[in-house]
Amino acid sequence: MAERSFRKEVEALKLGDGETFRGEGILAVTKALLQSGVAYVGGYQGAPVSHLLDVLVDAEDIMAELGVHLETCANEASAAAMLGASINYPLRGAVTWKSIVGTNVAADALSNLSSPGVIGGALIIIGEDYGEGASVIQERSYAYAMKSSIWLLDPRPDLPTIVRMVEKGFELSESSHAPVMLELRVRACHVTGSFTAKDNRASAASGLNRIETPARFDYAKLAHPPLTFAQEKLKVDERLPAAQAFAREHKLNEFFDGDLKDLGIVVLGGLTNTVLRALERLGLADNFGNTRIPIYCLNLAYPLIPDELKAFCVGKTDVLIVEEGFPDYIEQSVNTELRRADIQTRIHGKGALPKAGEYTAEVMLRGLANFVRDAKPAGLDAATIVAKADALTGHKGAAAAAVGDLPPRPPNFCTGCPERPVFAALKLTQRDIGATHISADIGCHSFATFAPFSMGNSILGYGMSLASAAAVAPNMQRRPISIMGDGGFWHNGLITGVASNLFNKNDGVLIVMQNGYTSATGQQYMPSSVASRQGSAPGMDVESTLRSFGVKWLRTVRTYSVATMVKTLKEAMRTAETGLKVIIADGECQLARQRRVRAEDAVKLKVGERVVRVKFGVDDEICTGDHSCIRLSGCPSLTVKPSPDPLRSDPVASVIESCVGCGLCGEVAHAAVLCPSFYRAELVQNPTWWDRALHRVRRVVISWLAPREVAA
């Protein structure tokens, strides 16, 4: 079960014609998929569309009634390849992943899918992880759409529009025989709103009504030469015009008219609300989307529709292109189209707006003011607009100065995380053997790149750590250490890293964090989880897989055993044995564990069973406020508080209530030879008579010995 349950919310997926759906963007997308009659769905989790997959999993029963097949894929490549079903069969399918990274992983299958094209609607819902809250490289998925002739929808972030674009996306795909991407930015995935629902539709052919005869052999369905040459022409000559015609006919793009006819704004659908709000604040629009500057809103981001564009621009002196990120693909295309048509409208874009970075409200206010200032339109006092923008944004400098230079608050390992002790061990190991090159990876363990560990020399992608150390190792005196999660191991690392390393008989040290879930994305199950969405364990295992691949030096260490981990790491670093040395750092994701254990303990407490609650603590008069323990932990539950000592000013360490008693504090105090301040308190709830008797006897004896006065 994933971190967040949508069991309650998925009930909304059953709504029928005319009923009002209320909920989050991704839930609306799921509803739209069911209304579109999909036959199969799949994907790989990653913010901001992790929850889309969680919703699909929680809605599996509802989907089963409609015969929809659900696949939680091993990675984005397998999700993209699923769409192959729509090449030969009239099956609608949708897959989802985080972009840009997921699209990179899926790229091979996407190219091979889009070349022959599809007959069943193929939709890819991508979470465009760009701007605030993003966790990946800042690149545009737009490039993939262009290079592979995949159409890209970028709907206005308004639930009815998003739902309509999902539905129209399938039709667009089928009418032009091309796959379609629908991109949702981070906030659009989580935006709440409402729309009027329709009945769900079952696919004509599906698990409930299976296809009798396989497709006939048709060489044209293969992305294989010599057909690939013909397919390239098909994309340009037939599919592109078909898509443009469909978009025109079904009015996928929207026009907002305005009285300042000399001006115009061409904006990507997803950025429309930001533009409209900025216009409203500058006195150029109201709160209902009535704008003075005409707007051409591209819900279909790729391809452009030259006729619509030309009709919008002709007669205008100045048009602003609002597209986030780099390169300015749309601005370039608009310039080309207008040049071809000999339309002399000036195009503003990157320049008025910044070349890179998110278009926040502040950026947009300034960008629009720059545009008006440069365009100098008749009927509008540009200086007033510029002054307004200045007035709305000018206070920031003084505000920031008043607060001072606030250090950022990056995410951190959770309280009790099993991965933190591994980095404590690594830090202690480095203290003895010297610094090592650390090849980091994607996953919760990448939080070790932040304080207090600040470890990791490179991150090359999900499951790529070992592969990215391949050329480091032979050039270094000391072995580099690669770190990979079990999520990354199954996603990519097993083949890209382990197989490649063994195949080349390379040396190296690999730590596999075995926590049992893809934890960073919300604890979804993966091949070596103890359970699956169907219940039973999938049955795959990291250790036996590595053995079968031929790894000889293999140790499994419980992550919380810091001293053992240090010893094992030193051994891996020092052994004369060449070849790959793998340490499986074993410890269940604490978030998942706590969710389970808390529920179990609550039941036990209720029925009167014995429960031991463990919590760590610090003796504040023994702590001298050096914080060595924090430098080896960084646990959110291990913090500081003012020293109770009237003579000391440095704050002392303190364990707060959220402590789950994972034991790391004690292990680190031992392994690192820290101070004697730490203690572990175990409270017995619902004690047995023996617990009580023992406790009573001990207290009596101790009270005879107890000093009369409190020590200093």
Binding site: A47, E132, G133, A134, S135, H190, T192, N273, E280, R281, N287, F288, T360, A361, E362, T393, H395, A399, A402, V403, P407, P408, R409, P411, N412, C414, C444, F450, A451, A520, K615, G617, D619, I622, T624, D626, H627, I630, L638, V640, P644, P646, L647, R648, S649, D650, A669, V673, P676, Y679, A681, L683, Q685, P687, L694, R698, P707, E709, A711, A712
Partner: protein, 508 residues
């Protein structure tokens, strides 16, 4: 009607605090009134205790009165476009201010005064905490209205999550077009932990309505118990500026060892008091030296640790911490003494002999005796009890004699430097704070102190470093010593000082 604008609310929180639940309550409440409402968030990995925000817009006119029109709501907070900011933590309120979301013309800022420290604040070797006064002042300066109160304490008192308190504060502020009852209904509608959430809600509500002043923080200091000796009278006779520290020092050392030891403390302070008066420091030199001297003289040896571990007050404290109501509990202590720690309590000669052998055999820093002892069992308690009983012999122990030598040396430096300048003496006195802790920490601190003494203090006293430069150099080297445990900053700082001092000589 067309003049109506969306009311905007920015929630600044940390991942895992229930900001999502809070947002849902607000959306449910607004929806129940038929108001156009929209919320957005940026979960992702920010949920793992990182800074995150939630954003809500509510259009104050119900759909029913809009004639089919739909307002366009923004997905992200805009600079200068936020009516209310609610922060669960003071630094996150500061972050909202720094991002330009809090303005004097419209923003009500409600923030908790509590802090969840950043790792970089916590891991500093001394005090790395961000200045809370500065944050509170920025709140007062930047917002139109503000309300600061300890939401963490309010949540704890009411047994609720902090987001319930935040909802109460939002409801009580009256800034959203949603009445209090609608928010309450949203909590009930949600159906989870209704009673505790309602109690948290009411705590936030009354805080917002009563305009509570920021909760007074108890100092949390635990002074030592008074002694019955006339030493106290002597302490009380010291200059006003130093009196509190000297009194505390006397009490502490009397408890740490005995009355003669406290007497020694007062005697040691006499020359400092004279130096203070001579150099016109108005008690500042005496006060700081008195503070550090008491800490240095009550150094943390195994005897002191053992005593602290079996103090009856400690058991009471832990009982209340783990909320043990008559239930049995076990306390396990983590100790890992090395040979040096064991030698601390031996007579100097014996200790030195053992240490010589240990050093020869390479046992120092490698051989440790890891123990997990239970102070709640009779046998475990007895071991600490026995150790604590060694107190009597402490003055004859190796560690005691070593520490006294260092202390005497340090005091001599303070006295000596006071002849050059009171400020210099104060800087030298402050260097005592470098020596603290146990094991490696103590060793590192002592090594840093020695480095400072040898490379900055002594040259300054010998006149090889000009006075002004010397004062600054000691302060900057001391700060550098507390920056990183690997000593990189200190090495750089000392090199820079030596270069600075060498240059004018080279130029001559």
């Amino acid at each position: 009607m067309s003049d109506a604008r969306p009311v905007t609310l920015l929630i600044a929180a940390l991942g895992g605090e229930g900001g999502g639940v809070l947002t849902d309550w607000i959306v449910t409440a607004a929806e129940s009134l038929g108001l156009p409402v929209q919320s957005t968030s940026i979960p992702g990995v920010a949920q793992r205790t990182g800074a995150t925000t939630y954003y809500v817009e509510i259009f104050p006119v119900p759909y029913a009165d809009l004639g089919g029109k739909r307002p366009v709501l923004s997905l992200a907070p805009g600079i200068g476009d936020v009516d209310m900011v609610v922060a669960s933590e003071l630094m996150e309120a500061g972050r909202a201010i720094a991002n330009g979301f809090v303005t004097r013309d419209r923003t009500l800022l409600v923030s908790s005064t509590s802090r969840v420290y950043l790792t970089v604040e916590k891991m500093a070797m001394g005090d790395g905490r961000y200045d809370p006064e500065r944050l509170a002042k920025a709140v007062e300066q930047s917002a139109k209205d503000h309300l600061l109160f300890d939401m963490e304490a309010a949540a704890k008192q009411s047994g609720a999550i902090v987001s319930a308190v935040m909802l109460g504060a939002i409801a009580g502020s009256g800034r959203l077009p949603v009445p209090v009852e609608a928010f309450e209904a949203a909590i009930r509608h949600d159906g989870k932990a209704v009673e505790s959430n309602l109690s948290g809600f009411r705590a936030g509500l009354s805080a917002a309505r009563d305009q509570l002043p920021a909760a007074l923080r108890r100092s949390g200091k635990r002074p030592a118990k008074p002694t019955l000796a006339n030493l106290e009278a002597e302490a009380a006779a010291t200059p006003e500026a130093a009196r509190a520290f000297v009194t505390e020092g006397v009490r502490r050392l009397a408890a740490y060892q005995d009355l003669p030891y406290a007497r020694l403390y007062l005697d040691r302070l006499k020359p400092i008091a004279e130096a203070d008066a001579r150099s016109g420091m108005n008690g500042k030199l005496l006060s700081e030296t008195a503070r550090h001297l008491a800490v240095r003289m009550s150094f943390e040896d195994v005897i002191r640790v053992a005593e602290a571990k079996i103090a009856p007050a400690r058991f009471c404290r832990i009982e209340s911490e783990i909320a043990a109501k008559d239930q049995p509990y076990v306390i396990t202590e983590f100790l890992k003494p090395g040979i040096e720690e064991l030698c601390q309590v031996l007579p100097p000669r014996l200790a030195r002999a053992i240490l010589r052998v240990a050093e020869k055999r390479g046992w120092l820093g490698t051989v440790y005796f890891g123990m997990e002892l239970k102070t709640t069992t009779v046998w475990g308690y007895l071991r600490f009890w026995t150790l604590a009983k060694l107190k009597r012999f402490r003055p004859k122990s190796f560690r005691f004699q070593e520490e006294q030598a260092v202390i005497v040396g340090w005091l001599a430096l303070v006295s000596h430097s006071s002849r050059l300048s009171g400020e210099l003496a104060l800087e030298v006195a402050e260097c005592a704070r470098l020596i603290k802790g146990y094991g490696d920490t103590w060793k590192r601190g002592m090594a840093n102190y020695r480095a400072l003494e040898g490379r900055v203090i002594s040259p300054a006293l010998a006149g090889r470093i000009p006075l002004r430069v010397g004062i600054d150099a000691i302060a900057s080297a001391r700060t550098a010593a507390l920056v990183d445990p690997d000593g990189e900053s200190l090495t750089r700082a000392l090199a820079a000082i030596e270069q600075q001092v060498a240059m004018p000589l080279a130029a001559e």
